[in-house]
Amino acid sequence: MSRLRSRVRLVDQARVSGVALRSRKVRSVLSALGIAIGVATVVSVLGISRSSQADLLDQLDELGTNLLQAESGEGFGLGDDTTLPDTAAAGVRNIAPVQSVAMVTELGESVLRSSLADPDQTQGISLRAAEASTLDALAGTMAEGRFLDDAIGAYPTAVLGAVAAERLGLTEVDGRTSVWIGGRSWLVVGIMDELPLAPDLDRSVLVGYAAAEAYVEDDLAPTRLYVRADADVVDDVASVLAAQANPEAPENVDVSRPSDALEAKAAAEDAFTSLFLGLGAVALVVGAVGTANVMVMSVLERRGEIGLRRALGATRGHIRVQFLVEAVLLSVGGGVLGVLGGAGVTRGYTVWNEQPYALPAAAVGYGLLAAVGIGVLAGVYPAARAARLSPTEALRSG
């Protein structure tokens, strides 16, 4: 006699689970929402962090990582003399792979908006003499007007850093704009954009060396050198920079690489990312518990249906798979919703911050994988309970 076997086609099994979810729409959507929120958090955190990094890397690319900065150190017993020797720039130029050097000297004079301003209110703005090559060395750009050059650098003309301009209340350059330095008026010829490689220059007003010598003070030994070197030997140049800048006391020279600060910023954002990812994980766990809860309730409510299906020939295995697939469908539905939401949040964030949009494929993959895993985890126990129910017990309750 032929053996009689129960079997369900796979598509039908999925359909049965899908119909069950559809006929309880509100509950399904709400419990999927819990997972969606968790997945959206994870995806958007990864997306935003990747976009910010892409932005920083773009910036680094543009700015170059081959800039070095040599500064007179504030070592012990140096007294007030915090300058480099006058010969520093010439010494550094002797290093073969050095492409360019720009010299900057910090001046003691304060910068005022006009002759009527209180001379003690400097608003943290410092005055510096700078060479014409400084802007190029820092890969900077002008927001308004032009930078100092050899022609106008001899006259009382000034260029404002972005922050300095803001604090002075100046937004445009019209040929009459001026600031008050050392008892005379200086014509403002330009305002710089922010300089990511030299944030302290943002808070400075720059004048030419010739003008500084003529109108401010005559000791113009450099306080800082900006050095562009061949990219592949930057480290070697850095190691000899101090000795070349100040052969007598190389230990008094601080050498640094401004792009390191930007890289550190990118790394710091990674730390934040881990923190937020942790929050996303907590949201996912809460979502999983919610789904498991909904599934357990569903099994209790649908004892009659379980009994009926057993009477129609379903095995325990069929019942188990039905509820497991339901949980996974619920969770994956939430996952898809969450990926879309997370991508949307990332998109919004990058548009708002004018950053490049980058959504790592891994974020999408992990998000969906997490959803499947949660579905299985949340479904195993309720499905086992449903399968364990004996048909007579299940039918009695209906």
Partner: protein, 231 residues
């Protein structure tokens, strides 16, 4: 397939120390229409679950369609139910929010029949029970009599060797009950073997044969009284 559809031999069922069925023997042949009657607590529902292979007897054998169920695994019993047995319940057990056709089509789900054919046969079955005009209706919007007819269509879909109906009119008003009884009569006329469990005398009276269960034993069997000497 020459033997009886259902052959029950000395079935006992105990829950702990409490014995509910004390050794029931019963044979039902092809095309019979049988009412199993008895007061509540007589053990008739337990008997229905056991002969329907939803539960196992503590001792004794149940042979359905020439297959001895005592040697079958759980999965084999499920297979037997999906192919050879149909159920009708007092509370219908229809899926809410699912059309009448799809509800009936569930009857072939666990035989691996494709959706297209399931749907086709479900419509046919619904027409057979007089619900051709209600194919896409949600059962929640139907009367009790209509709902039970949907359930009967579902039970018939796998062309079972035997249909068990547990108080099929228990939740219906008398008019709907009569409707369902008439339908069961038609099925009998077409050759379906039907066993109805009931405590209602009008239902029992409408059946061809009556088996009375009392205190876990067969108290009376109208067939035995007709064919008395045979046993």
């Amino acid at each position: 397939m020459s033997g009886p559809v259902l052959d029950v031999r000395d079935v006992r069922k105990s829950y702990g120390d409490l014995e509910v069925l004390h050794g029931i023997s019963l044979t039902i042949g092809h095309g019979e229409q049988v009412a199993v009657v008895g007061p509540s607590g007589s053990g008739k529902s337990t008997l229905l679950h056991i002969v329907g292979t939803l539960d196992r007897p503590t001792s004794g054998t149940v042979v359905v369609d020439d297959r001895d169920t005592s040697e079958m695994s759980e999965a084999e019993l499920a297979g037997l139910r999906s192919h050879r047995i149909g159920f009708v319940f007092q509370s219908f057990h229809l899926l809410d929010g699912v059309s009448a056709t799809d509800n009936v089509a569930q009857g072939l789900l666990y035989r691996g029949v494709r959706r297209h054919e399931r749907t086709h046969r479900a419509r046919e079955a619904l027409r057979r029970v007089g619900l051709g005009h209600r194919l896409e209706h949600d059962p929640r919007l139907m009367s009790g009599g209509e709902r039970q007819r949907v359930a009967i269509a579902r039970a018939l879909l796998n062309r079972p060797a035997i249909v068990f109906a547990d108080e099929p009119t228990g939740n219906l008003d008398s008019r709907s009950g009569a409707e369902v009884l008439a339908l069961l009569g038609e099925l009998h006329a077409q050759g379906t073997t039907v066993v109805v469990i009931t405590h209602e005398h009008e239902v029992a009276a409408a059946m061809q044969r009556r088996v009375e269960i009392r205190d876990g034993l067969v108290h009376a069997d109208s067939l035995a009284s007709v064919a008395g000497g045979l046993r």
